[in-house]
């Protein structure tokens, strides 16, 4: 603190010496900051870019949970992520090119369900309907373990006022029609509209 400021503060608070003034200031500052933090409603922005069954889970789970914690949440669906906003969801999973995905039986005795079947790429790529089968097995596992369906999580998000926004460019790019998508979409926007929301968010995630 320079001499002028010191003089000024002693004039303003003649009954306080400098140490006491600093202490009071720090205390008030801490109180004010704690109040601001307590009043702050956390916010989260997610960008969802994938349209497979496995990659549909993270954005909806995080969004629904954050909303349950009282946060303000927006999810921007772009490219293949836009598929997650269709009226009719028919999501699939592809084990091909997805080496970390376990291939496990959803039914049968415990020992059988624990086996991770290593299936060669050639088989996964060559057998017609392999993805349909893998999707069926994954859906069965999700159901067995009490994990919510994407439809359920999506409606829970809407119920909790999560803002689901859609990318206009993707609709144009893939010759889609806005009519194919759920009417609860909060807006058809572009990157320039989403970024300012993301800028003010406490948490930003790209899925």
């Amino acid at each position: 603190m320079n001499a002028t400021a010191q003089q000024l503060s002693s004039q303003m608070t003649p009954e306080l010496d400098q140490t006491a003034f600093q202490k009071l200031f720090d205390q008030r500052f801490d109180e004010r900051m704690a109040q601001i933090e307590a009043d702050h409603i956390p916010s989260m922005s997610i960008i969802s870019t994938k349209g497979t069954l496995d990659m549909a889970y993270p954005p909806f789970i995080l969004a629904a949970t954050a909303a349950a914690l009282g946060w303000d949440v927006s999810v921007f669906f772009t490219f293949y992520g836009l598929t997650l906003l269709k009226k009719e969801l028919d999501l699939e999973i592809s084990p091909l090119g997805n080496p970390a995905m376990p291939m496990k039986m959803p039914v049968g005795p415990e020992w059988l369900q624990s086996i991770d079947m290593k299936i060669p790429n050639l088989v996964m790529a060559g057998i017609p309907g392999f993805e349909k089968m893998a999707t069926g097995m994954m859906k069965k596992s999700l159901d067995n373990k009490g994990v919510a369906s994407i439809e359920e999580l999506r409606s829970l998000c809407l119920e909790a006022d999560v803002k689901l926004v859609a990318c206009q460019m993707t609709v144009d790019l893939f010759n889609m029609d806005q009519e194919e998508f759920i009417p609860e979409i909060s807006g058809w926007i572009g990157a320039a509209s989403f970024l300012p929301t993301a800028q003010k968010s406490d948490v930003t995630l790209f899925v």
């Binding site: 629904a64 349950a68 009490g146 994990v147 829970l156």
Partner: protein, 78 residues
């Protein structure tokens, strides 16, 4: 001090993350401030999740019991 006897019971057994939390939130919304909710769950992840949910939302976690893999939480609505 209001009573800790639960007025509502939520059966979240067999449900997995994040459903126990979402159902808890929903059940609490319908309750009056000061009332207690009993949540039953079998999801081991819910132990930490319920704790975190309560500290974030200001609701008070009165008790958390583990009865051989079946969990019981009593939460007082703020």
């Amino acid at each position: 001090m209001t009573t800790a006897t639960p007025t509502t019971t939520l059966d979240a057994r067999g449900l997995n993350c994040p459903l126990p939390i979402l159902r808890t939130r929903k059940a609490l919304t319908a309750m009056a401030s000061g009332e207690a909710l009993l949540v039953q769950s079998t999801d081991p992840g819910s132990v930490e999740d319920i704790k975190s949910f309560c500290s974030q939302t200001g609701n008070e976690l009165l008790s958390a019991l583990n009865d051989d893999g079946e969990f019981q939480f009593t939460i007082r609505k703020a």
